[in-house]
């Protein structure tokens, strides 16, 4: 199918669009109850928001809740059972932090294929305390287990490696990172669903303990309980049902391209770019050959080369957004807001560049100008982001879409971005799962 032709131009006549009829969330926090309860609360809120009875839903898509590699309950059916079995089709998706986008995309694909007209998408988590850890046992074939066994490399350790790299390559400072927290905390204070709802100062960030140098506790997102849900439908159904639908025009679920030259969680190494570079000659033995194109430290410090060993090559995160833009027939210049995955403050800055809000290296400048704060030119994480929510893994990508929907409908209260028409969400799941959704009205 020529999807580009279908999606381009924004024409409502024949597109790959689906409608968002309802959005719902269970507030984030540490509530000490089961994930199904949070998910049902969010689902009921989304159904009420859509003005639809649960029995009208013909497909339930659960973003899978996984504990140490074992799902416990299979999400889609757990939610369907708790809402009351009514015979709808069911699906469950697991893609780590990108699980929610996979669930949205499964719903979309069913709707566009004519296999369902109204779909409920739900993600919910009851997060354990402390560092995320792998399942037990001796699992030497599991890179996620091995990185803890051999390196003790927690998730914040990887966030810190990116942060330090940005400082060295782009000249970002700890003060820049703190400013991201200050910005997101201010937005989260205005969000009733956020876990942390108070302003944070740069001094408070600087006074919080270092977790993984250079990142401090308040630079790193917590892990939370929470749930988010969406009711999606076909365009035909939406036009009959509501006068003011919001549309999903793209869902990017791309994988990386080989060679992946930026170190990714939970890997021990990047792919090697030697031997696959057309300019280098693929038949040649790469060993011992230092290519002039390889990034040298001196060039790094001059700030002229993007992170990674292949300056000309877009990294995985950039390719996630690029696929969404292409499918939506839109670009960064069209955005009124973006929700990006700020696992750390420094990573939010990285996303500015990866979704094309500014050239590589300019993110801190954009932040300091106030462009990405509420009231700025292109607000990023008006929800308050992970900084204010903490991560509830299967819910998070869906929650990003909920914020986009509320902003585009003008229902975002004190954090409302006036006249918002186009929103992009972006996220990345462990092991190579892209996640980006474009929402328009």
């Amino acid at each position: 199918m020529d999807h580009l032709a279908l999606a381009s131009g924004g024409s409502a006549a024949v597109t790959g669009d689906v409608a968002v009829l309802g959005a719902g969330m269970h507030p984030w926090g540490k509530w000490g109850r089961g994930f199904t309860e949070y998910g049902v609360a969010a689902a009921r809120e989304a159904l009420a928001d859509a003005g639809l009875d649960w029995t009208r839903v013909t497909l339930v898509c659960g973003a899978q809740t996984v504990r140490g590699g074992y799902p416990g309950h299979v999400a889609g059916a757990a939610f369907a059972r708790a809402l009351g079995w009514q015979g709808a089709r069911v699906s469950s998706s697991y893609a780590a932090c990108a699980s929610g986008a996979q669930a949205v995309n499964t719903a979309r694909a069913h709707i566009l294929a004519g296999m369902a007209d109204v779909a409920l998408v739900v993600g919910a988590d009851a997060a354990p305390k402390g560092f995320f850890a792998p399942a037990g046992g001796e699992r030497a074939d599991d890179p996620d287990w091995l990185r803890f066994r051999i390196l003790g490399a927690t998730n914040p350790a990887y966030f810190a490696l990116y942060a330090r790299r940005r400082m060295a390559v782009h000249g970002d400072t700890a003060e820049d990172f703190a400013l991201v927290k200050v910005k997101n905390a201010a937005a989260g204070a205005a969000n009733p669903c956020a876990r942390y709802r108070r302003a944070v100062t740069a001094d408070e960030v600087a006074a919080s303990p270092v977790v993984a140098d250079p990142l401090r506790l308040l630079d790193i997102c917590a892990t939370s309980d929470g749930a988010a849900a969406l009711v999606l439908s076909s365009m035909e159904f939406a036009r009959r049902h509501t006068a003011h639908p919001v549309w999903i025009t793209a869902v990017s679920t791309v994988t990386p391209r080989f060679p992946q030259t930026v170190l990714e969680l939970p890997d021990f190494a990047t792919d090697s770019a030697a031997g696959t570079d057309p300019a280098a000659g693929t038949g040649k033995d790469g060993a011992g050959t230092v290519r002039t194109g390889a990034v040298q430290a001196g060039r790094d410090h001059a700030g002229t080369v993007h992170a990674g060993t292949e300056p000309d090559r877009a990294g995985f995160r950039a390719s996630i957004a690029a696929a969404a833009y292409e499918e939506a027939g839109a670009g960064p210049e069209d955005l009124d807001l973006a929700e990006v995955y700020d696992l750390s403050t420094a990573l939010e800055l990285q996303w500015y560049e990866d979704i094309g809000l500014c050239p590589p290296g300019d993110a801190a400048r954009l932040l300091r100008e106030g462009a990405t704060g509420l009231g700025g030119r292109i607000p990023v994480n008006p929800s308050g982001g992970l900084a204010s929510f903490g991560e509830a893994v299967p819910a998070q990508a869906i929650a990003q879409v909920c914020e986009a929907v509320r902003q585009l409908r003008g229902q975002a209260g004190d954090r409302q971005i006036e006249g918002a028409r186009v929103a992009l969400t972006a996220n990345q799941g462990l092991f190579g799962h892209g996640s980006s959704v474009v929402v328009v009205r």
Binding site: G130, A133, P134, G136, A140, P143, L146, F148, R149, I150, L151, G152, A153, T154, A157, A160, L161, Y162, R164, R165, A168, V169, P209, V211, A212, D213, P214, L215, R257, F258, P259, T261, L263, D267, F268, A269, T270, D271, S272, A273, A274, G275, T276, D277, T282, G283, K284, D285, G286, A287, G288, T289, V290, R291, A294, Q296, A297, D300, H301, T309
Partner: protein
């Protein structure tokens, strides 16, 4: 005495080098397209343009430059082994860019090296190290050490 020195994972580095300076990380190289893999791929080449199945063991460059670094100020969860009765001592993690292979490889720094001793772009070398010891075994690993730092 007598505890077996055992690599924490088999085949990733030289187990019993003749001399310490012969220690290397071990990857594999595809005989068809020459792509290099670490951790090793032994069955199928992961280059999407290649169907190679002959992957030959190859030592990685012993030296590289610091791509980034950090430390762990809090005790990581299992399966990382540490004594809960002892005060936690942060360890340092280093991501090292190998010029010839054009790849970045993670590892812990040798004990005693802190983030204050490191800078992006600094030259480091791979050396044999000990991850942890238990009643039966000394679990060995690789460490990165700044070139010129005292062993």
């Amino acid at each position: 005495m007598g505890r077996a020195r055992t690599p924490v994972v088999a085949g990733w580095f030289t187990e019993e080098p003749e001399r310490p300076e012969d220690f290397r990380l071990l990857g594999t190289r595809c005989a068809d397209c020459s792509a290099v893999f670490f951790p090793r791929e032994d069955d199928f080449c992961r280059n999407p343009a290649c169907c190679g199945t002959r992957l030959l063991e190859v030592p990685l460059s012993p030296r590289g430059r610091v791509w980034s670094f950090t430390d762990g100020r809090y005790r990581p969860p299992a399966p990382y082994v540490s004594d809960p009765a002892r005060e936690w001592e942060p360890y340092t993690l280093v991501a090292v860019e190998l010029a010839a292979e054009r790849m970045v490889v993670l590892g812990q720094a040798v004990p005693g090296i802190t983030v204050a001793d490191l800078a992006v772009g600094m030259e480091v070398e791979v050396v044999p190290g000990v991850l942890n010891e238990d009643d039966e075994r000394v679990w060995t690993t690789w460490h990165w050490r700044p070139v010129g730092a005292r062993p």
